[in-house]
């Protein structure tokens, strides 16, 4: 992980560098099957955020996406203040859901677009109908790792699940037990085990996937 603290506030964000570079490399409309250096760079930054909670990489993603989300928001929501809310909510989700991003399923741009669109839908409901509901993510599935979040929900429906916790490999078991049985936050668990929070998230995901496969065998 890059050492963010040691850098000055002026240099650590790399504002606009990614955009300037990628605009030089590419021009005009793009086709998805062409080699795409910008997409590769975005994917690299996402990995850094997901696995290492790298804030500097997040700042580069922010610099790339925020102005575009802002102009989408201005068009769609017709109010500058709401467009900023859309940037804030979308980028917060990029950070918290980074571990669910799956490069095999979608480009980073597509994944961020779906998060933004879904969030914008919920905000429009509020503006138009004064409804504080959040249906966007139910309407449009996000391109994520085996729909991991939904699986997390499904798991807890069944007390049977916890019988299988003992069958997990020790590192995954430790994390699943910490989160679901001792009810620690991911950060508390990371501190306790002295591992990065990204590792907590990935062990948790692997553990839940494995539990799901135990369950499926069980019901076959």
């Amino acid at each position: 992980m890059e050492n963010v603290q040691s850098q000055s506030a002026q240099t650590r964000y790399d504002k606009g560098n990614l955009i300037a570079r990628s605009s030089n490399q590419r021009s005009g409309a793009m086709k998805s099957d062409e080699p795409n250096p910008m997409a590769d760079e975005l994917a690299h930054l996402m990995m850094q955020v997901a696995n290492n909670r790298c804030k500097r990489s997040f700042a580069s993603l922010f610099s790339h996406f925020a102005p575009k989300i802002n102009s989408f928001g201005v068009q769609r929501l017709s109010q500058q203040g709401l467009a900023m809310d859309l940037v804030q909510e979308t980028m917060a989700r990029v950070w918290t859901k980074a571990h669910l991003y799956n490069a095999d399923k979608a480009a980073v741009s597509t994944w961020v677009f779906t998060i933004m669109r879904n969030q914008c839908f919920d905000m429009l409901r509020k503006v138009q109908h004064n409804r504080e509901d959040a249906f966007g993510d139910d309407i449009w599935p996000l391109f994520e790792s085996d729909d991991a979040e939904n699986n997390e929900e499904d798991f807890l429906l069944s007390a049977n699940l916890l019988q299988h916790v003992e069958d997990l490999p020790p590192l995954q078991r430790q994390v699943v037990q910490g989160i679901y049985m001792q009810e620690l936050t991911q950060q508390e668990l990371a501190d306790k085990l002295n591992i990065p929070i990204g590792t907590v998230k990935s062990r948790l995901r692997l553990g839940l996937e494995k539990l799901k496969s135990f369950m499926e065998k069980h019901y076959d």
């Binding site: 506030a9 650590r12 964000y13 504002k15 606009g16 955009i19 300037a20 605009s23 590419r26 793009m30 998805s32 997409a39 804030k55 997040f58 700042a59 922010f62 610099s63 790339h64 996406f65 925020a66 102005p67 575009k68 802002n70 989408f72 017709s78 500058q80 467009a83 900023m84 917060a92 950070w95 918290t96 979608a106 480009a107 741009s109 597509t110 961020v112 677009f113 779906t114 669109r117 879904n118 914008c120 839908f121 429009l124 409901r125 409804r131 249906f135 139910d138 309407i139 449009w140 939904n150 997390e152 929900e153 798991f155 807890l156 429906l157 989160i179 936050t185 991911q186 950060q187 929070i197």
Partner: protein, 225 residues
């Protein structure tokens, strides 16, 4: 085999997130049942994301103008750390099935927070209203028991019927689960079913639920409506 699909225009409005909730539910549920439309929506979403996020843009100055620098500073100094210490949201128990007249149906995922009312009905026809908060459209689940029918009717506006389970026929055709039928007010029909069926319907919505938000927000559009 699904024979009736939303048209390209509706699919594209859906990919953009521009349709009202009642219609978004219908397209999402259809796409869960129809791999063809699911594929098309994926392609449209990829194209839209490239258009929005990978186009050339000179944004270095706009970045500061729009107040994005301040927002980024805030993210770096506190928001990200705060997000990481927020507790994992407590998972919710969601029962995504409905039971009517002894039949249990598993619903497409999009319905999981939408079923909050109870069934009302007479005879073989039962209806469960969805509270979409849209005064212009009435969205419901409609159940017709075996050998039931809906009396012949015309619509004031358009009528959307998405067949979720079972089968039904009208004077035009026989329909299968996943079939997506949008009829305008000129059509008259009286659906009948032999084995029973469950549908999602939206009714009485002239010009409403097939239009994008941009048109709905237009005040002149409101006057015409």
């Amino acid at each position: 085999m699904i024979n009736y699909h939303p048209d390209q225009h509706l699919l594209s409005l859906h990919a953009k997130g521009e349709l009202p909730l009642s219609m978004s539910i219908a397209i999402s549920a259809h796409a869960e049942l129809c791999s063809h439309c699911r594929q098309q929506l994926n392609q449209m979403t990829i194209a839209l994301s490239e258009q929005e996020f990978e186009q050339q843009q000179t944004v270095a100055e706009q970045f500061d103008d729009a107040g994005l620098s301040g927002l980024l500073d805030q993210f770096m100094s506190s928001t990200l750390d705060n997000l990481d210490t927020e507790p994992t949201p407590q998972p919710q128990v969601v029962d995504n099935t409905v039971t009517i007249k002894g039949e249990q149906y598993a619903l497409p995922r999009v319905f999981r927070k939408q079923i909050n009312a109870s069934w009302q009905g007479i005879g073989k026809v039962s209806r469960l209203r969805l509270d979409t908060g849209e005064p212009q459209a009435r969205a419901s689940l409609l159940h017709i028991a075996a050998n039931g029918e809906i009396p012949e009717h015309t619509h004031k506006g358009a009528e959307l019927t998405l067949l979720l389970a079972g089968e039904f026929s009208d004077c035009y055709n026989t329909y299968k689960p996943g079939d997506f039928m949008l009829l305008d007010q000129a059509h008259q029909h009286s659906p009948k079913t032999t084995e029973g069926c469950l549908c999602y319907t939206i009714v009485d919505a002239p010009l409403y639920f097939t239009k994008g938000f941009s048109k709905l927000l237009n005040p002149i559009g409101d006057l015409l409506y």
